[in-house]
Subunit: 134 residues, 2 copies
């Protein structure tokens, strides 16, 4: 039987599949419609509200037949009716790292928040560079 | 009577107060101890697990009597037993933007996840720079 964590990771896969295929309709269906939603795209400001969040996706996906994105090493964190998936993203040559927050709707998970920002390089940084800004 | 959202913003304030005063004991008390916890510090990799998350804070706060951080414009998003606070951070001269996920423990909120990454400059970018990486 498929478990909560598997379903959560499946929803996360579906989010990146919609992204990669620039499928705005699938993206709409994946975002929660009965919970507050928000997004922080890389280097961009906070976007709050379903209409505003979907408009941000339309702007990103508007003239693409597809999007060169893949995600790696997803980690699922279950917090009851909410679930978080943390993963790495590669968008073209950019390496990013993301927090995706999902809410459970019966047996499905729908996304309520996404933040993505720069990831460290795969190579180990030097000792004096290991300490992050915070 | 104080509401859920006010309590959630209060917990977010407490998180930044612990950070600013480099109070590792307060930080320990603020992080959830019965839920999975994780953190993504700016430009750093995913850290999972309470011991690992607290060790990351100890490394950041270890030789500081205080930390030059302030947060601004917090926005609370209630998802039932989970709450998200989105806010801007200023750390020294760095401008960051954060997702803080909290879990409700009776009447309190404890932090379960934090991601912080670069914020856009306050000035409006030029037209061709407005589109984020994604």
């Amino acid at each position: 039987m498929i478990g909560d964590e598997e379903r959560l990771l499946f929803a996360n896969d579906a989010f990146y599949a919609a992204f990669a295929s620039a499928d705005i309709r699938a993206m709409q269906d994946l975002w929660a419609d009965k919970h507050p939603v928000s997004v922080i795209h890389p280097g961009a400001d906070i976007v709050v509200g379903r209409a505003e969040v979907l408009a941000s996706w339309k702007a990103i996906l508007r003239d693409d037949t597809g999007f060169d994105i893949e995600h790696r090493n997803p980690v699922a964190r279950l917090l009851g009716e909410t679930g978080i998936v943390l993963c790495r993203e590669r968008v073209g040559t950019h390496h990013l790292i993301a927090t995706n927050v999902f809410v459970r709707i019966v047996d499905n998970w729908r996304i309520a928040h996404h933040q993505s920002g720069p990831a460290p390089l795969q190579a180990k940084p030097k000792q004096e560079e290991q300490r992050p800004v915070h």
